[in-house]
Symmetry: C2
């Protein structure tokens, strides 16, 4: 499919999408099918010959649509809302075209920066305490996760790391495994299953705090359980809280504001001081209810947020952002970064083709550093690591091509990876001319 056909098919797809959403009310909201329906409708192996675009689109109606639960039908009252809007779909089209993977600032600066600044905007709309806002010199800030389950897991792992380091700081003779076996996290018996699963993944014990008759957790019950566990030699560290919020504790508590079963709100203003006194991480999960806190009449439900270490809610539920987008804030960014930090060289700023390999081998100033099997060539200038670092600096500064390095047997090596679908022989030839020109300049400099 070339650009011209994409322009045509893209217009048709825009109309298909608009037609689908304008007429969704006419489709049965829930499919009437037995498990396994789809396998019999299509071949058991991928076809060897291509099918026409028209036939593929016919299969969408014949094979896919009969098996869809229509989440955007006005007769869908199940689970929780998944937001969707036309502007969000346009934005997704643009993101798909840019198609960058923002795993570091350098991998696409706009990704990291826009995320940070937009989470500040959103945090201010929720009137989060100043300590959760990144600004230009804050210690806190926001980050986008895929789902609330991921936000809960990340907060639990950060709390676990912090608790282990704290215990080992005063008792260096205790092993990490030993500390781990003593940690207890708490959450409401009404919390989402993902909170319990986070504890399972993190390998820590999780206790469920009984709720009152409104299905919310109050301070009294948590206090009592924590006292019992401490007396038995355990280390509370994490709490999750519900109120449309779920909260975790290692010596953590995960509270929920708006539980999944009944949208109950845990009593954060009672729970928060207990967590702070006991040095327990408090995570507040308001996956569903969070969007409502932008409204002054609902904002009081978020009172107590000042005691929390982390907080999240899902714009993909009520804020017209298509799945997936869970916004998460922490008071101290270093708590999260410190728990996961690893810096392999290819991510500090990282690169085959026999064609490029032969160009490198033909130039005696260079050497190939690893066997070339697929689309990646590892090469370097014969000489010091510093010389190769300087060459990469020149390449980056010139902005014509983009490479990143790696480390092999203690040596600084350049990685040349064939990446774009549109890279042709001429681009590779030109890249090599560019690299050799910069090498010539570099070797002329008096220091070399």
């Amino acid at each position: 499919m070339d650009a011209a056909e994409f322009r045509r098919r893209g217009r048709e797809m825009v109309d298909y999408v608009a037609d689908y959403l304008e007429n969704i009310e006419q489709r049965p909201v829930y499919p009437d099918l037995e498990p396994g329906y789809l396998r019999s409708l299509i071949p058991s192996e991928a076809p060897l010959e291509p099918e026409s675009y028209e036939d593929v689109m016919k299969d969408v109606e014949r094979v896919i649509m009969p098996g869809i639960t229509h989440w955007h039908s006005p007769y869908f009252f199940a689970y929780f809302p998944a937001a969707s809007s036309y502007p969000a779909m346009l934005a997704d089209m643009l993101c798909g075209a840019i198609g960058c993977i923002g795993f570091s600032w350098a991998a696409s600066p706009a990704c990291t920066e826009l995320e940070t600044v937009m989470l500040d905007w959103l945090g201010k709309m929720l009137q989060l305490p100043e300590c959760f806002i990144a600004g230009t010199d804050g210690h806190g800030g926001g980050v986008i996760q895929g789902t609330a389950s991921e936000a809960t897991l990340i907060s639990l792992l950060a709390a676990r790391c912090k608790a282990i380091r704290r215990v080992q700081a005063t008792n260096p003779e205790i092993s990490e495994a030993e500390v781990l076996s003593k940690l207890v996290a708490y959450t409401s018996e009404q919390a989402h299953s993902s909170v319990e699963r986070a504890a399972l993944i993190g390998g820590v014990m999780m206790r469920k705090v009984p709720t009152d008759k409104t299905y919310a957790v109050g301070g009294h019950m948590l206090k009592q359980m924590v006292e019992e566990d401490k007396a038995a030699g355990f280390i509370p560290f994490y709490v999750t809280k519900h109120s449309g919020i779920e909260c975790v504790c290692l010596f953590q508590f995960c509270a929920t504001l708006g539980t999944t079963p009944s949208c109950a709100f845990d009593h954060t203003t009672e729970l928060g001081p207990i967590c702070n006194d006991e040095n327990m991480w408090m995570h507040i999960d308001a996956a569903y209810a969070g969007s409502a806190f932008i409204c002054p009449e609902f904002r009081p439900l978020l009172n107590g947020i000042e005691f929390a270490d982390s907080f999240n809610f899902n714009p993909h539920k009520w804020l017209l952002v298509n799945f997936d987008c869970s916004a998460m804030w922490v008071k101290k960014r270093t708590d999260i970064i410190g728990a996961f930090k690893m810096e392999p060289l290819y991510l500090k700023h990282e690169n085959q083709e026999s064609e490029f390999e032969s160009l490198v081998r033909a130039d005696k100033r260079f050497e190939i550093c690893a066997e070339v099997i697929m689309g990646l060539v590892c090469f370097r200038l014969k000489g010091s690591n510093e010389l190769n670092q300087n060459l990469l600096k020149k390449i980056t500064k010139s902005q014509e091509i983009h490479l990143v390095p790696c480390q092999l047997s203690g040596r600084f090596v350049l990685r040349f990876a064939i990446c774009a679908r549109t890279t042709e022989s001429r681009h590779i030839q030109q890249a090599w001319r560019h690299i050799t020109q910069l090498t010539f300049e570099l070797l002329q400099e008096p220091s070399h």
Copy 2:
């Protein structure tokens, strides 16, 4: 934005995307910016008044594009390729419109079934051993993860769970924490940082196996380390393998076929028998190289796959599927399912608005089961759980509206959640008429 405007803006966006990709070669591949560039270009708080669509699109060129690293430029030779194609973008538009969240079969049957059948197609293209194919009665099968890092983490957690259960089956007096502290996973010193991070998250020790002069791991080195660790009282359980593959071991080994730094291939046919003999889970990560194994000339690099418990590669690298799509296969689905299984009632097949609440309260046959604060009403027929289960069955069978249940204080309760952006008062009124009609029919039945 209504459907008519979406049709117009959608066409414009299709053209913007096609123009961007046709002319990407003219843009500098790597941005020339200092960290923090974006914050000064936009207001510090969200605007209170809307901006025109034209102004938003101008901001894309003014604010976003200068900060983009253009991954699809033919001059991009960094990291690894991120696939992108016009057909994949069209498919993403359609998925965005359907916007269903496929966390269970019932949440949208087509999602689960299409995924299973397509992973069978792909597995057959790779000539995976039959035990990795789901078919209609296989024990293995494929599942889509977001990234190879997730696939590695999931295989490590499944291996950990299996190892703990095996040790406890013969030694029930040993606590889970104690087993955990004795587990050792192995991977290549050249494996991706995400393998080490998976061990960090899972709270298990990971040892790095030295590579040979081609940067690959051979059987001899692994065997020696495992023997040493067993002699010291540890329990090897997981191995990851590289060859464009990464492999893990608890008593796991993670092998890599095509390492990130240099695309080295671990010696799977040597490592596999060691893992099988030692009862270690072997995970093979071929994130980058996997797509090439479809070609007969590269397929020999995958030999040894028959010894693996799990395998993954990223179609979003070379198969023209936009990010994110990492395909993962396991020999025994129960190993993965068993490690994470939780079945809260709202996911077994899971609902507010004062409007709907008042309708329920006005009917004395019904009761409200939890305080209604936001868009969720929990209600039930006064009477047995069985009666309410039967009512929900009738509602599901009728296909007019879609609800799921929850459990509150041991009682089976129906959840009515306002979900769709387009749900109006008339839809709610009609849903209630429908529920009361089915209730009337139910209460007429002789059994009640």
